[in-house]
Each structure stands twice: as structure tokens, then as C-alpha cells.
Amino acid sequence: MPGMILFVILAIPLAAGALSFAARKRPAMEAINVTAFAVLFLFTVALAVEVLRVGSVSVWYGFLYADSLSALVVVLTAFVALVCSIYAVGYFRHDERHQVFEEDVLGSVTIAKLRKYYTLTPLFVFAMLMVALANNLGVMWVAIEATTLTTVFLITFYGRATSLEAAWKYAMIGGVGLSLALFGTILTYYSAYPVVGTDSVAGLNWSVLVKNASQFDKASLRFAFILILLGYGTKAGIAPMHTWKPDAYSEAPVPVAAMLAAAVLNCALYGLIRFNVLAAKCLGPQFGSQLLIVFGLLSIGVAVPFVLVQRSFRRLLAYSSIDHGGIMILGVGFGGAFGALGMLLHMTFHSVTKPLLFFCAGNIQQYLKTDLFRRANGGLIYSMPVSGSMFLMGTLAVTGTAPFSMFQSEFAILRAAFDRALFVPATLCVALLAAIFAGFLVHIAKLVLGADPGLPPAESCPWKKYPLVGLGALIVILGFWLPSPVFQLIRNAARIASGEP
């Protein structure tokens, strides 16, 4: 029964959350967390293999439906969750050893705090998996709303005043954004109503909608697409709805921030792609791509000044993920064969690279006790050789320098633009990317390189070192060689995203 695998994938995080809630001691919670996500990752890979073989897997009359696009997002989410859980072990042990929790305003004992993390994270992962596997667009919306709610308390994890402020902004802007998305979903259902209205159970199922999208009502679908773009754009952190991102990423604990930056971005963009396919079929590609290109360029443009004059490296990474959200939106906007393929390639490589950057930032912040550039007087590569060099390599990877894989996806996206003779937006995008590279290099090189300040060597905990080395090696390999099944999955997903049957 191939469908059962979907249930198992959804069941594992729930079970992990329950067990961690019941667990007494920290090592137990860590063990549950890591093993659960490891098993989850294996199952998602199995799902991907299944989808590659069969094309799409669905269960319970199509309520849970996994085609190659959702399989890709599920695999990436599981991978990011696994890597973050491994890193979280080292991260929280370091926090515990350095009594970070003592000065927590509520004074709750550390184990309560850890329990909160180890129960909410699996729920968070469950919500994200649900987004990818839900066939019904309404249920997808509910799942994305669930990701927001589960992460609010993860952002207020340290209980500082600023993390409270970040959580409030995250909740409020997230709430408004998602109500926009809900309104969009309603309008989509309304535009599909005359065609598919009678079947109230499967009415909003994507697989049903996509078949007869061309007969939808054009006027209402246009508004629906606008609202969806604003709604899911808020979750993806597209400008001008990006303002919550820097605060949330710099206040949340690093594993959560990494999952927010890598996994939630994928889910939000997944939602956008689903609706873009419908809009393209009904209104023709021109309407959607105009909007997407404008918002994509706006996001990259907004990221540039903040990268150039940034004071904290945690917020610098936040703006980098806004910039990558913008690039992916551009990819979808340029469309065509290369556009969708480039976008999904970029999503895959981004989900591998971004966690590495966050982990390095986490290590450095825990070591220097600050995330401000001016307080770190450089020369980190002497006291933290692994994190320092990985941070520099990650910077080069994330800004799209050639030997690393992000360059290939950006090249594909730009090639799509040039094939559609959109010269000005493409050239503008290249110029902005160059500016971002300049800003990034100046900040990170000043932080990592420099005279040896004579700080004591820092990298003792293996849990914090090996995920870095593993991810670094993976990024270098991806630069030169991509396993063909992975590329096959991405190509099928791209075929779906660009609207072919």
C-alpha cells in the first residue's frame, strides 16, 4: 500500500513530539529528536523513490497527495530538520553549560525550556510536511498557519525583551499575511465553483483544480492570485512583507532560525508555485510573471542596502534569505523550461547551504557572546578554524560564486530571462547580486580573517563541528556532481511547476 508511507511520514513527528513531551531527561529528548528525524528522512527518501517510479502517490481519496514537487519539498524539509536536530544537540548543551537560561525572565528551569523546544520542533516539522502533502488548498493554508503558530513560542525561547518583540511582529505580520492568503484561497474556490462546485469534499483539491483550470472565472482568479502572492509572499519574506524576517531570525535559537530560513521558505514558495500553475493555466503566463518579476527584483533590491551596512551577522543571514526568496520568485516569474528548473535547483541548493551559514553564525555567536561585527575584532580563523573557514566558504556559496552550486541555478534562471528577452530585469538582478556579494565578502572576511587576537581555541564539541564539515563537503560535491535520481526528481517537479501535465 504505497499510500501508507504518507501516513508514516506524518505520524513520526507527532510521535516524536509526544515522546519528548513525556521524556524526563535531556539526553532522552535529544535521542528521540535525532532518531525520529533520521527515520523521517529515510522515509521521505523512500517516498521520493516511490514518486519517481510511479509519478504520484495519494491516499484517503486524494486528501494526502504527493507528486514530485511535493516529494522534493518534503525531502528538503526532512533533510533540514535532521541537520538542525543534530546541530541543536551541541547548541543547547553549550547554552546549558554557559547558564544562558538562568537569567531567563520567567525563571523556569532549563529542562522545561528544552522540553518546550523538543516538543514544538516536531510539531513544526509536522506542519511543514502537511503543507507539502495536503492536496486540499484549504488544508494547505491551515498547515502553513500551524507552522506560524508553532514557531511563535520557539522565537520567544530565550525570553529576552527583544525576542518577545520579534515574536509579536512575527505573529502579527504572519497572521495578517495568512488571512490574505485565506482570502485568496476563498476567491480561488469561488472562481472554480461553477466548474467544480458540486463536489464539496474534493472541491479545493489541487489535482482536481489543475485539470480544468482553464475554465475558471478569470476576473476573480486575478484577485485570488494577487492575494495569494501577498499572503504566501509574507511567509516567504518577499519585500515589502519581509520586515519580520530579520528580527525573527536574529532572536530565535539558531536551529529554529535555520529551519525557518531554509524549510518554511520552501513551503511558502511551494504554495505560491501551486497557485501560479493555476493562474498561468487560466489567465496565461503573462499576468503572473509580471507580478513575480516586480516582487522578485524588489526583494533583491531591498536586501542590498541592508547587506552593505549591516551591523549583525545574524541579521545579515536573514537578508540573504530574503534575497534568495527574491531570486526564486524571479525564477518562477521568468518561467519557461529553464525558469522553473532553475528555481527548484536553487531551492534545493539553498536548503543545503543556508543551514551551514546559520550553524557557523551560531558557533561564532555562542563563542563571542555577541552577533555584532564591531565587537568581534577579526582573526576568528585562528581560534575557530572549522567554523571560520566554513563560514567563508558558505558565504561564497550563498552569494553564487561559481565553483559552488548556487551559481548553476542562478545561471539557469538568468538564461530563462534572456531567452524571453527580458534584458533589463536580468541585468539589474545581476548587478544587485554583485552588490550583495561585495557586502557579504567585506563583512565576513573582516570577521574571519585578520591578526590572531589570541582567544582560547573554541571548537571542542563534536556535535557542533561535524554537521558543518558534512554540509561543507556536500556543498563542494554538489558544485561538480549531482546524483542523477535527484536531478530526475527536480526535472519532474520543474515540469509540474511550469504547468505541463
Binding site: V142, S179, Y189, S220, P246, V309
Partner: protein
Amino acid sequence: MHFYQDPQFGNRMLTLMAAFVLVLQIAMVGQRWLITNIRIFAAQSFLLAGIANTIAYFNHAPHLYIAAFLTLALKALLLPILLERMVKKIDIGQEIAPLINVPLSLLISGGLTTVGYVVAQSFHRPAETASPASLGHNTLAVAISLFLIGFYMMISRRKAFMQVLALLCLENGLFLAAISLTYGMPLIVELGIFFDLLVAVMVLGILVYRIQETFDSMDVSKLSRLRG
């Protein structure tokens, strides 16, 4: 046929209730006391439940009754009680000076209503709605205006609590849009939305409490230390 089966009468009742909902919303924009606002919200939810019932009755859409009952139970009764108990515990009476003064807010709400109508006008297809009690574009227009005014209220209010309330009004607008356009979403989605709403209110309630605890005031404009 009794008067209450006559679709004409149903249509009149719907437009009347929709108008009342809009008036309550605009009143909420002008109102500064928290407790009164909660009560206005409760009344609005009650009316919405009524609209849902009439539509369900006239269009024979059984699952809409469940939605109506949930709105009544949840939004008209349970939530206001919870919110009032919270307001009493924090005992902050009113919002002294909202970000934008009241007359200007009312003007803007009027403007937003017109935007609502213009948008509804541009894409609503009155001809297709088969049932005689065709819901007319005004309930859709009211839904969009409700949504926009709710959004505006979030911007113009300083108190965290009021922003939560504004978010709930926003949700009301969406619910009205759903029932007026497609007689409510598929049941599973309705349940999901209500469940999310409930959790959201609980989460935001805890957050408001924590803000009150840390900043010993609910004024959101104090939350501005994260810059750049």
C-alpha cells in the same frame, strides 16, 4: 408559503444584517474602550451566525449550519468571555491616544468601504448565482470592506490587545466572504480554520500577557529596539 420561506424576505434580511455588521465594524474603529470593543465583536459574530443560518436555510446547504453554530458558540460566546477575563486581569481600561485620531480613522474606513465596493463590483457575477436569494454583491462588498477596515484597525491601534481583536474582525470578514461567495468552504477546511483561529487567539493571548509582564504596558510602539 410563510413569510419566512419567501426568498425576497431572506434577501432583505441578509442585506440588513450585513449592513449592521459593517456599522458595528466602523463603530469599533471609533471606540477606545476595550471592554466595549469586545462586546461589539461578540454582537458582530452573532449577526454573522444569523447570516450563515439564513443562507443555509435558503440554499439548503446543511454543512453551513455547523459553521453557523461554531461561529455562534466560539466567536459570539466563548472568545468574548475569555478576552474579558484577560482584560480584567490586566485591568487596562482604554487606549488613551490611538495612532491616528478618530475622525480621520472614520474617514479612512469610509474610503476603504468604497474600495471594497469597487473591487467587488469588478468581478462579481450576479447572474450566475442560481438561487433566488442571490446574495447580491453587497454582502461580498461588505466582506471585503470588513477585511480592509480590520486590517486598517490593526495599523492604527497602539494596544497589543486591540491588534488581536482587529485580527479577529479580519477573520470575520473572511468568514462572511466565504459564506457569501461559495456557501462556506468545504467542511474539513472550515473546521481547520476554526481550530487555527482558536489556537491563534490562545497564543496571542499568552504573548499579550508576556508583553504586559515584560514591558508593563501593552503599548506596541514600545517594541522598537530591533532595527536595521
